[in-house]
Amino acid sequence: MTTAVTIPRHGGTGGRTAVAARARQVLKAYGTGETRVVALDHVDVDIARGQFTAIMGPSGSGKSTLMHCLAGLDTVTSGEIFLDETEITKLKDKKLTQLRRDRIGFIFQAFNLLPTLNAIENITLPMDIAGRRPDAAWLQQVVETVGLAERLKHRPTQLSGGQQQRVAVARALAARPEIIFGDEPTGNLDSRAGAEVLSFLRKSVDELGQTIVMVTHDPVAASYADRVLYLADGSIVDEMYNPTADQVLDRMKHFDARGRTS
């Protein structure tokens, strides 16, 4: 089995680890006895800080489950998950919610925004909930980066699908989370709008040093990442650095073929 723990635990950046999040022997199983289904089978993984990581794999491979567990949205059956030095698998709902609010950003595939709030209100919502004032200069920069300055007062229903996802990206960035998780953030977009959103994500990694983890099944989307992890049957089976879309596609075909023959 290929292990995804490839980065040394301590980097040189002011005492903070070079690993933003890590999973150790994470097991996630549903049901018991004969109906037991293992979604994650003792997974070890490190997510490098300041990198764009894509998680790929066929349906049912456990890629979404892995992301949900890393993000503190789902509980694990056994094993440990750390966000920086915090073991989130030990946290109760209250602390976990706080952690999501203050240290994690989310972009979902669809329905990212509250229909009752306008764009800027949606962007600042996590900070509002926390009772923190957003950093005005940073907010300005984020808004300009995602190109939404003109539409801040619009309600989600008045925005296109691509614009809605860009608002979601802006929301994820605005709170300066340690890590942003994307669950097929471009899954509902056409290729142009999707490319736009992915470029923003890439840019935020390159220019702002943001850490991003994205689940996708689209090789083109994965090609924007620094590193691609392949999941199959609840285990990490391969990884690839600085991929191109074609490489990703090839690798996928390979797994698919193997899946079919075995």
């Binding site: 706080q98 999501r100 609010r101 979902f108 509250l114 229909p115």
Partner: protein
């Protein structure tokens, strides 16, 4: 058939979401059926009672006014004993026996405690006859055999722990009868609370009727084979068809008794049905909201049905079929609950002394039929608009993205109509305050109330926008972003918020209106008392309003420390004005000291002269109506005596509540025309203490009256307190009945929130994912609930106070001159509705908090 099938499946699939609507239908139907069953059962009970207590034929004296049950001189009309022998001679008579029957009595035990019912059921004293054996049996001891013996009914004996040998005192007009219990008789049918004592015949005649050898009735039983009607004819023949006697067969007597009981039952029945109607009205809002939300949630599904070929009509019908199912389920449960409610009500009546037997429980076939029809019809009517909206869903909806359909905007046309109605209603209310005739004023009031109510319902969505924003500034902003989210949620569907609030508004508007009228009543009366009552004490039977027996009057008359004690009574008479017009009036006869007890303004003449010999006073309305001047002579034909010619010595102002329109004369004047034994007893007595001896006199009066517990001695403070209590009690009963409507409205708030939470599952998931804590989420839902409740309360209380004020202005014509807004009550209700909001959010907030974040996000929206 397929429409039916999809409807049934939809209904079952959404049974949770229908549950609260079903409860609303259930409650309203239960209230209607409960009322019907309860009143039917009361009727059955009384039917049975009256049927067994009436003999085949009853002969009684015919009195001038036909009402001999509460004679104002305390002695029932009677017929000579010789008539009994005459009646006995008639063909077909098996037995004719003379009976003595009086309800003008009070029975107390040795500790001067009243043995009578506190619920208005009568205390009855009489002689023991064979006819009584049809409804009672002597279960211990024996019937009274002399003036020192008395028999009491078993229910009363049980309630007051009486046993043979205990002393009972029967207070009647002709004096007190103290006797020891010789026997206890049990009813063999249900006795709904009357206390009954039996005396031996001679004692009953002497003490209850004031003369030996007289009876109040002759109870005639027929020989076998002789019908009641035949017997009545035969008896009439031997009495030569004398006009002095009234003959009734058993059926006629039962009917007559029922009629006197029936009007009371009818009033109760229609009042309760009225409140059930209000609950139905409130329930409609709940049902409309439920179906609107179900249709909205199912837009895609309906779009699909349309896309694959369902017609509008089919979609429309499928929603209505669901409504029918809801109506049936709610009503069937409601009918069952109604019977339970009636039984509960009967038990509750038992606790306050009105015994009803569940053996008499009467469920007419019409009761479930009415309940079912009402429940189904109301539900279907309420679901009609949402059903039509469902029919209008385009097949394209199937293809569109999921999510909450476009937030309902309140249309301008609707707002226009609503404003127009409200304005018209407001104008009518204003006209009410300006009206100078009660009849036209009350018409304006009714129109005004109706139009403003409908107007407010129609502009509810518009008002929701304005009021919720205003409330948010005051209340929600304190809670930061969570408050803002709550505000936005409350505002996102103004139509829904409007309807939910309106449901609460209806009940609270009535509460506010009645509390304004009630407290204005107390304030007006208090002001009037302060202004015009000079008496320190009033003695009266304030619970049943019966006159004061002479021996009780005597007991308080010469109490130490009293400056005077005024006798005050009302003598019935036909009064003919100089213009020849005769009115069935009465004249207030009192001691001249009454002028100090209740100060009246004489517009002309001198009131003290009205107490002179053969003089009287009249009110200015009467004087105006008949053009009467000082010095005119009125012909006063006393019903119980001779005709007098009395000179008008004063005209008093009718601008008052106490003795409005009263004509006064001296008691001695009245007494010179009415024989002493037919002179009415005192209706009340007024006392004034000597300077500085108020306390002593008060204590002395109380102890003097201790032997007669039905009469209350009150000073002015007691009297005001009593007045306040009485109004308060009445209001509490009405509030209690309105509670039903308010409960249904609160269910409506719960319903709206619960369905909103379901509708917003994905949003909730999203918010939780990006860091909204459970507490914040629950608080957000609670705040939304509070703001909806406060919105309804604000509208309701505002509307109600408007109605109440208009009603007071109208009632000012009847002397209700002081407007008092009971701010403590209003503010308490307002604060309580915030609590109600919190309460309504309990379950929805809890369920929202428990949602699994991942499932919520993934939910099909």
């Amino acid at each position: 058939m397929t429409v039916w099938k999809t409807s049934v499946r939809n209904f079952l699939a959404h049974k949770g979401r229908m549950a609260l609507s079903a409860v609303a239908v259930l409650l309203s139907v239960a209230f209607v059926c409960g009322t019907l069953v309860f009143t039917d059962t009361m009727n059955t009970t009384f039917d049975k009672l009256f049927a067994v207590t009436s003999p085949d034929v009853t002969v009684s004296p015919k009195t001038a006014d036909g009402n001999d049950e509460q004679p104002d001189n305390g002695k029932p009309a009677s017929l000579p004993a010789s008539v009994v022998q005459e009646v006995a001679k008639a063909d077909g008579v098996k037995k004719a026996e003379g009976a003595v029957f009086s309800m003008a009595v009070t029975v107390v035990n040795s500790e001067n405690k009243n043995m009578g019912s506190e619920t208005g059921a009568p205390t009855i004293a009489g002689n023991w006859t064979e006819n009584d054996l049809r409804s009672m049996e002597i279960t211990s001891g024996h019937a009274p055999r002399g003036p020192t013996e008395v028999m009491v009914d078993a229910d009363t004996a049980k309630k007051h722990k009486l046993k043979i040998g205990d002393e009972l005192r029967t207070i009647a007009a002709a004096g007190d009868i103290t006797a020891k219990i010789s026997g206890i008789a049990s009813f063999t049918v249900t006795n709904p609370g009357a206390a009954v004592v039996y005396l031996d015949t001679a004692t009953a005649q002497k003490q209850l009727l004031g003369a030996p050898d007289v009876f109040t009735q002759i109870l005639v039983s027929a020989e076998s084979g002789v019908s009641d009607t035949q017997l009545k004819k035969n008896v009439a023949t031997v009495l030569d068809g004398s006009a002095a006697y009234k003959l009734q067969t058993q059926q006629e007597a039962t009917e007559a008794n029922k009629d006197s009981m029936g009007s009371f039952l009818d009033v109760m029945k229609y009042a309760m049905l009225g409140f059930a109607g209000i609950a139905f009205l409130v329930g409609i809002f709940l049902i409309v909201n439920t179906f609107s939300m179900l249709v909205a949630q199912r837009t895609r599904e309906i779009g699909l049905m349309r896309a694959i070929g369902s017609s509008r009509k089919q979609v429309n019908r499928s929603v209505l079929v669901e409504a029918v199912l809801l109506g049936i389920v709610g009503s069937v449960l409601g009918v069952a609950a109604g019977v339970g409610l009636a039984v509960g009500l009967m038990k509750a009546m038992g606790a306050v002394g009105m015994e009803l037997s569940t053996g008499d429980l009467t469920v007419a076939w019409t009761t479930p039929a009415i309940g079912l029809v009402l429940g189904v019809v109301v539900t279907v009517l309420a679901a009609y608009i949402p059903a039509r909206r469902a029919g209008k869903v385009s097949p394209m909806a199937a293809l569109r993205d999921a999510g909450t359909p476009a937030d309902g905007k309140s249309g301008w046309i609707r707002a226009g109509i609503g404003l127009l109605l409200t304005a018209a209603g407001g104008a009518a209310l204003w006209a009410t305050t300006q009206a100078d005739k009660a009849t036209e004023g009350s018409m304006f009031l009714a129109v005004g109330v109706l139009l403003t109510l409908i107007g407010f319902i129609v502009i509810g969505p518009l008002l929701a926008g304005v009021v919720v924003r205003a409330l948010s500034v005051v209340v929600l902003r304190l809670f930061g972003p969570v408050g803002r989210l709550a505000e936005r949620n409350a505002l996102r569907n103004p139509r829904r918020t409007g309807a939910t609030g309106a449901a609460l508004m209806i009940g609270l508007a009535l509460v506010a209106c009645l509390s304004v009228v009630g407290s204005s009543m107390v304030a007006s009366a208090t002001e009037e008392l302060d202004k015009s009552v000079g008496a320190d004490f009033i003695v009266q039977d304030s619970s049943t309003g019966r006159p004061i027996v002479p021996q009780a009057a005597e007991a308080v008359r010469d109490v130490p420390g009293l400056e005077h004690m005024t006798d005050y009574t009302f003598v019935e008479a036909k009064i003919t004005a100089p213009n020849g017009k005769t009115e069935d009036e009465g004249i207030t006869a009192a001691d001249p000291t009454y002028q100090q007890d209740v100060r009246r303004t004489a517009l002309s003449g001198d009131l003290s002269k009205a107490y002179g010999k053969n003089a009287m006073s009249v009110g200015d309305t009467y004087a105006e109506r008949h053009g009467i001047k000082i010095g005119d002579t009125l012909t006063v034909a006393f019903k119980a005596g001779e005709t007098a010619k009395l000179k008008v010595a004063a005209i008093t102002s009718d601008d008052t509540n106490i003795d409005r329109g009263a004509m006064y004369t001296n008691l001695t004047t009245a007494a010179s025309y009415v024989p002493a034994d037919r002179m009415p007893q005192n209706v009340a007595m007024f006392g004034k203490a000597e300077e500085g001896k108020e306390k002593e006199a008060y204590a002395a009066l109380k102890s003097a009256m201790a032997e007669y517990p039905v009469y209350k001695v009150q000073n002015q403070a007691d009297f005001k307190e009593d007045l306040k209590d009485q109004v308060g009690q009445l209001l509490n009963i009405v509030y209690g009945l309105l509670a039903l409507a308010i409960i249904v409205a609160v269910l409506g708030v719960v319903n709206t929130l619960a369905l909103s939470v379901v509708e917003r599952t994905r949003e909730i998931g999203l918010m939780r994912a990006i860091g909204l804590s459970r507490r914040q989420l629950r608080r957000m839902i609670r705040l939304e609930s509070v703001v909806i409740a406060l919105f309804g309360a604000l509208l309701g209380l505002g509307l109600g106070m408007g109605w109440g004020t208009a009603a007071q202005k109208l009632l000012a014509l009847e002397g209700l001159e002081v407007l008092e807004i009971p701010w403590p009550t209003i503010l308490t209700v307002f604060a309580c509705s915030a609590l109600v909001g919190l309460f309504a959010a309990l379950v929805p907030a809890f369920r929202a908090g428990r949602m699994n974040v991942l499932n919520a996000i993934a939910a099909d929206g």
